[in-house]
């Protein structure tokens, strides 16, 4: 038989089995194997490479949050960077007096509260108008930070080095330590994300997205569901922000401004809206694409393939970023997650392959 390890049929007999995450034990094993690879990865990577890996995971957390608000609940959010910023600033203010394992979840909670407040307009408005409301939050956040002396008016708020039990973090082990912390948080929150749709709260998000009147008729509360979506998406973003604050060792407003929100949206689109796998593939793809384009641009520059006044090599990076978004929107609006689905289906025996 072709691919004997793959699922050979539908043997589910009850609803519990229907909502099972893994169809076979092999699928579960493959996830454990993947996690083992992730745990061992720092053995093979240098500090700058670890920073890139940490960054991808932090972005993935922010994109997971965006995928709850925009992907699951269909509420366009172009202020995700501001939610990340709320988490980062909260962590930065608390870091001198609280340990990181408290400041990170508190950062998430602060962003969740902000998300709940920003979600209030969604009780009355939707679609493009709601998107503008989230944009307003982004602008208000930037203005507030810029005019708050306690937040250094957008200048740097440094975070102290952390200690965990007797383990002291210095610059040499900084990215390695935070990798394991971030990985743990990512695994827990990705697990929660995956399970969200198996709960009535998660299914309510999708129901409200698809038709809020029908959802209302079925006993769900569209308003509260939308606020819940913003709060939960904000929580993920806030946790990402707090982790990023520790990772970069200082909070500066420029990391949480509108272009960063656009970048998160681009990552969600490229990865595939509403997809768990896409939340990782999107950030990884865009970050690695940028790094590779940088190398290519430098190589082209070294060949002297540009003439006076026009630096083609340098223009390649922003050009490629824009082009990738447009190409994905046109040719693969379901994002890289759909590619991953097609690859998995190719190896499946069931249905249709015998």
């Amino acid at each position: 038989m072709r691919n004997p390890w793959a699922q050979t049929g539908n043997y589910r007999t009850d609803y519990r089995q229907d909502t099972a995450i893994f169809a076979t034990y092999l699928e579960m094993l493959s996830l454990w194997a993947f996690l083992a690879v992730l745990l061992a990865l720092p053995l093979f990577l240098s500090r700058p490479q670890m920073f890139v890996l940490d960054l991808i995971l932090v972005y993935a957390l922010a994109v997971l949050g965006l995928n709850i608000t925009t992907g699951y609940a269909g509420l366009i959010n172009i202020g995700q960077a501001a939610f990340v910023g709320v988490g980062a600033y909260t962590a930065a203010l608390l870091a001198p007096s609280l340990p990181f394992w408290l400041t990170v979840p508190i950062g998430g909670l602060a962003a969740a509260v902000a998300g709940g407040i920003v979600g209030i307009p969604s009780l009355r408005i939707k679609h493009l108008y709601l998107a503008i409301a989230t944009l307003a939050f982004q602008i208000i956040f930037e203005w507030t930070v810029g005019h708050s002396t306690i937040l250094k008016q957008g200048g740097a708020i440094p975070l102290p080095r952390v200690e965990f039990w007797d383990y002291r973090v210095g610059y040499k082990n900084h990215y390695y330590f935070w990798y394991y912390v971030i990985l743990l948080v990512v695994v827990v929150l990705a697990f929660a994300f995956r399970n969200l749709l198996r709960t009535r709260f998660g299914r309510a998000l999708v129901a409200v997205r698809d038709n809020d009147r029908a959802a209302d008729a079925m006993g769900m509360h569209p308003g509260l569901t939308k606020i819940f979506a913003f709060a939960l998406g904000g929580f993920y973003a806030g946790v990402a922000g707090a982790l990023y604050a520790y990772l970069s060792r200082a909070v500066v407003i420029e990391d949480y401004m509108l272009p960063v929100s656009i970048k998160f949206l681009a990552m969600a689109i490229v990865g595939g809206l509403g997809s768990l796998v896409g939340s990782f593939l999107g950030p990884a793809f865009l970050v690695l694409l940028d790094l590779n384009m940088e190398d290519l641009a430098n190589w082209l520059k070294s060949l002297g393939l540009s003439y006076a006044g026009v630096d083609i090599a340098s223009a390649m990076r922003p050009l490629t970023f824009g082009l990738v978004i447009v190409l994905f929107l046109i040719f693969e609006p379901r994002g890289l997650a759909n590619g991953w689905r097609l690859v998995r289906n190719f190896f499946r025996n069931w249905p249709f392959k015998y």
Partner: protein, 390 residues
């Protein structure tokens, strides 16, 4: 045969010369890349020149310009790569990127020379290893106020600053200085990327504003200057380093006539050795006219020249110039560096207490489509008093 011997010696000495890497990370694309691309070219060209002319003390300095797209995460990654490679110094760029890296810079002890002249870069905490190539924005703005106080005692002034730490930092010092100078700051307006400043300018006019002092980038300043001219206002405009210069002339055209600008660099059309040097390098490396005319081109050169000089001196003292010991040796040289590369209106001098390289600047005025100097090189009289209280 003798010529061949010399050639072989030169080739061998170049091949076996110790290589030291020096990285610049800044915006060649993205926000502020209108300045960053020229700055990068300045770094590249001075580095090539120093290697070719033997100004590196027998070392081969491998300069690398990285486009961080004004993204702090990219700056951090580039800095980490330089650190990992054992670079002895780092050339930075933006205010945000520099401020974010300060704790790490302090911890690893890497000499860091940013293109941002933000005073917060060299103010404590975590500022031991940061060195500004020229006077800070705060000192530039106070110098402009001093010029205004001389030109029009008791003048009413508005500050138009960028909505960021880069723009806001000089404001408290400027307020203090204005009190001392007997001029009045009637309003501080934050501005960026506005398409029309009619309302702001009308308000300024109603308040009797006679001068607007800009701590900003050239784009919004050009828009405001053009609007002021369209409205027929008799307000004079005074710009700090990044708010003025040839970029402003290009953007504002005739409306820039009469604008006052302060910087420590020479203009390429001046009759000065520094200006001739910039033109010479531009021609040597086939740079287009807009590069040579840009004030950011010599700015990049000066940053590279400072780092290369410190590396060269550390090497000449028999100290290692790479790795942990290299960072330490170059930093020690930076603290006693005193030399004149001729790229700015004064020598570069650093000490433990002084992390500003060129302490002098000049006031320029736009006349006939060019900025011409209207003052001798000078230092602000009030800056130290209002900022450091001495």
């Amino acid at each position: 045969m003798r010529k061949l011997g010399v050639l072989v010696f030169l080739v061998l000495s170049f091949a076996f010369a110790q290589k030291v890497h020096l990285m610049w990370s800044g915006a060649i694309t993205g926000p502020t890349s209108d300045a960053g691309k020229y700055y990068a070219q300045g770094v590249e060209d001075y580095c090539k020149y120093a290697n070719e002319e033997g100004l590196t003390g027998g070392l081969t300095i491998v300069c690398e310009t990285r486009d961080d797209q004004y993204n702090n995460a990219n700056t951090q990654r580039n800095f980490e790569e330089a650190l990992e490679r054992g670079d002895p110094a780092f050339l930075g760029y933006s205010t945000g990127g520099t401020l974010q890296l300060k704790p790490l810079i302090q911890e690893v002890g890497m000499t860091y020379i940013p293109a941002s002249y933000h005073i917060g870069n060299i103010d404590p905490p975590d500022s031991d290893y940061l060195f500004l190539p020229i006077v800070s924005y705060s000192e530039q703005v106070i110098a402009l106020l001093e010029h205004i106080a001389k030109e029009k005692p008791g003048a009413k002034v508005a500050l138009a600053v960028h909505p960021s730490p880069f723009g806001r930092a000089p404001v408290p010092d400027a307020r203090e200085a204005a009190k001392e100078l007997g001029i009045e700051i009637v309003e501080v307006q934050e501005m960026a990327k506005g398409l029309d400043y009619t309302a702001t300018l009308k308000r300024f006019a109603n308040k009797g504003v006679e001068y607007i002092v800009y701590q900003n980038v050239a784009g919004p300043v050009a828009t405001m200057i053009k609007d002021a001219r369209r409205l027929g206002l008799k307000i004079k405009h005074a710009a700090a380093h990044y708010a003025g210069g040839p970029d402003l002339l290009r953007l504002a055209g005739d409306a820039a006539e009469g604008v006052i600008w302060v910087t420590s660099y020479y203009m390429p059309y001046e009759d000065a050795p520094g200006a001739a040097f910039v033109k010479k390098l531009g021609a040597r490396y086939k740079r287009p006219a807009d590069t040579v005319e840009s004030v950011h081109y010599p700015s990049g050169m000066l940053a590279a020249a400072i780092a290369i000089e410190a590396i060269k001196r550390a090497h000449a003292a028999g100290k290692p110039v790479t790795g942990d010991a290299g960072r330490e040796a170059v930093y020690a040289e930076m603290l006693r560096l005193s030399f004149d590369p001729g790229l700015a209106v004064g020598p570069v001098t650093y000490s433990e207490e002084d992390h500003v390289g060129v302490d002098h600047m000049r006031v320029f005025e736009a006349r006939g489509g060019r900025f011409v100097p209207i003052s001798k090189p000078f230092q602000s009289k009030l800056f130290r008093k209002v900022h450091y209280g001495k």
